[in-house]
Amino acid sequence: MQVTMTVNGTEVTRDVEPRQLLVHFLRETLGLTGTHWGCDTSNCGTCVVLVDGEPVKSCTALAAMTAGHEVRTVEGMAQNGTLDPVQQGFMEEHGLQCGFCTPGMMLTARALLDRNPHPDDGEIREAISGQICRCTGYATIVRSVQWAAAHPATPTGDPMPTEQEVTA
């Protein structure tokens, strides 16, 4: 069957088997391997992508079910060559070690900040509670998201400097 959906702002149309999972559609059919494929049982959350702005575990959705919707993957986070503040935050605060959980973590964080620009640590922990990181112990991930909250993107897409950084 043919499916058409918007992936990172670009409309794509492909022939797929109805049983093809969204994660495999993204990784194998479109070659977007930034979305990782982990437990395959909707436990680990590394396969999270945004569908119409909401985090969804792409191992437990069919490409066919996603037709007509807007998908955003980690490849679509940077704008015009500038990292999303969440990506920058993960760099600044060492939010990753092996990087396996990182794409899903960052997209969930993006969705959280879009609806709640100033979450407290508890709200961040709740938002990522369906995702597993086996390296960082989560503390640095929470700090990374807080960094992004403190540095929202400017209209040009650059992370906004904080007052401290301006005066420093």
Partner: protein
Amino acid sequence: MLTVTLVTDKVQSTRPQHRGRRRGGLPVQVPAPFEYVRATSVADALELLERHGEEARLIAGGHSLLPMMKLRLARPEWLIDINDLAELRHITVDGDRLRVGALTRHADLLGSDVVGRLFPIVHDAERVIADPVVRNRGTIGGSLGQADPAEDLTTVCDVLRAEVYIAGRDGERTVDIHRFHRGPYETACQQHEVLTEVRFPIVAGQGSAYEKVERRVGDWAVGAAGAAIVLADDGTIADVTIGLTALGLEGLAVEAAEVLRGQRPSDELFADAGRLAAEASSPIEDQRGPVDYKRHLADELTRRVLRTAVARAGALSPVSGG
């Protein structure tokens, strides 16, 4: 997760699936082949169910069905996608009922102030159903329809004496929740029917609560209890319902509720109710715990939800539309 991988490997070795293979020839977990169609309305879904017969299944959030299909515990030939049926996704106060469409996501219920105000038990339960990302997809209709014995919303609906609306060829019918739920993975909703709505009776002054013990965030319950209470003007208990999840009790804990009726709330009374709820339970030993521990949970969690429900009773503000 290890078990899952082993089972799948076995399936793969006896039933090769060339197109389901990952690059490099390693097996991947994908469902067996099926045909896919999107329903455009409830009437269309009913027609599609009729046309494709016994081997057709509805899919909404997919978080129960797709994992079962990967494991070949379910092998539908047709999937009828009902995610476009906006008519089934709503939360509306209608007179003395709260109407919740079957396609309403867990996240919708948790995000609804009116649900939290009228039925705090629903928010208690929703906070501990899977995780926030899964709750973006999973639906109330899917949870009730799957009828997993460890599923939380069935107990919540039992305690709130909800009614389930089911559409079929000959129109819509209503089923009380205790008649809807027929046992593990079995409901009154027939193959050719569509669960459309759940209706909760709004009871002035009702307090309700749910509490669950889980091994880790997002897991199924080791055990859980729910209760709803209405206090009379003199402070005695006018009405009460108690339910248990994953503890081997079908329907409500009737005897535990009976000792409370007409009495003034007290910890001694709740202890009696807890003991009776534990006696009514018949948990089985599994990887989540032994029988005596689970019976202890039935007792303790019953006491706790009664305490919380009483504290919340009388706090209901008048309803003014949805």
